[in-house]
């Protein structure tokens, strides 16, 4: 389907780009907010990424899938913006391993509380960890595909994922304790 619409856009039907906006806007926003941590900046980053994709769609070489190519654009735009913002993230080391909640504690909460808590936790994680978790679990990309999108090595991706999983539970525990 992506190839069909790429063909239409290259033939001058610019309205066909709506297909890509509808299909990828939520995912693109999700990747952007993982990196920049701010709704409005994430929206701007997503807009810029779509514009970049539109301008360069004629040179999309099909060596990878459109989604991989596009997510890479979103990620690069987000990282460029992050460098300008020069944000820093906190390292989580002050919780005892025994105190870390497991998934059952979180899943026992109400639906909307779960969504809020999880998105807040992702916001508190570093850009790399948040991005890795979203790509791996939400988009269900394989480790290899995450490497293609992010440019990380396979070893680095696995380390980031491992750290991200641990830190996610740490942050969720902290947030649950704060809310209680």
């Amino acid at each position: 389907m992506d190839d069909f619409y790429i063909g239409k856009i290259c033939n001058g039907d610019h309205d066909a780009f709506r297909y890509f906006i509808k299909t990828y806007k939520d995912i693109a926003y999700s990747i952007a907010i993982s990196v920049v941590k701010d709704e409005f900046i994430a929206q701007e980053v997503t807009q810029d990424a779509f514009m970049k994709a539109f301008k360069n769609i004629g040179s999309f070489s099909k060596k990878s899938t459109f989604s991989t190519w596009f997510y890479r654009i979103v990620m690069n735009e987000a990282l460029m913006r992050l460098r300008k913002l020069k944000k820093e993230f906190i390292d989580f080391t002050d919780i005892n391993d025994d105190d870390i909640s497991d998934e059952n504690a979180i899943l026992s909460l109400k639906e909307d509380e779960q969504t809020y808590l999880i998105n807040e936790a992702l916001r508190k994680l570093s850009s790399k960890e948040s991005l890795a978790l979203r790509l791996f679990y939400l988009q269900e990309e394989s480790v290899k595909e995450v490497c293609e999108i992010t440019g990380w090595s396979e070893a680095n991706t696995k380390i980031i994922l491992h750290r991200a999983r641990k830190n996610m539970f740490v942050v969720l525990t902290q947030l649950m304790k704060t809310d209680l």
């Binding site: 610019h14 309205d15 780009f17 709506r18 906006i21 509808k22 806007k25 939520d26 926003y29 999700s30 907010i33 709704e39 929206q43 997503t46 807009q47 779509f50 514009m51 539109f54 301008k55 004629g58 040179s59 497991d102 998934e103 979180i106 899943l107 639906e111 779960q114 969504t115 999880i118 998105n119 992702l122 978790l133 979203r134 791996f136 679990y137 939400l138 269900e140 394989s142 480790v143 696995k158 994922l161 491992h162 999983r165 996610m168 539970f169 969720l172």
Partner: protein, 117 residues
């Protein structure tokens, strides 16, 4: 490390709740509006570049005509001799011609690349 490649661990159920929808309802229209502006800008730019190229050709022809006139009439400017006047004019003409030629060659190169893609 086969565990690390699995999408079905404890965290996967939690992460499903992290699905985000973009909270700006007019997002699609904003992008399409930007695209329309981009297309208009590109068309105007193409037109301006073509006009610039035409004027480059006309300017080159006009410069060469003045060069011939200055050579034939041996006209001196202010207190300068005709030879000095001609030399200054020719130096200025060549400099401007080369700068504009470089710009127009870049334009042609980009046009060729665009046609190929």
């Amino acid at each position: 490390m086969t565990d690390i490649d699995s999408h079905n661990d404890g965290l996967s159920h939690i992460m499903k709740k992290a699905t985000l929808k973009i909270p700006f309802s007019d997002f699609e229209e904003i992008i399409m509006h930007r695209i329309s502006k981009e297309i208009i800008y590109k068309n105007l730019l193409s037109r301006d570049r073509i006009i610039s190229f035409i004027f480059f050709i006309l300017g080159t022809g006009f410069g060469m005509i003045i060069n011939l006139i200055l050579q034939k009439t041996r006209y001196g400017f202010l207190s300068l001799t005709p030879e000095i006047t001609l030399l200054i004019f020719q130096a200025g003409f060549v400099l401007i011609f080369l700068i504009q030629l470089e710009n127009n060659l870049h334009f042609i190169e980009r046009w060729k690349n665009k046609l190929q893609t």
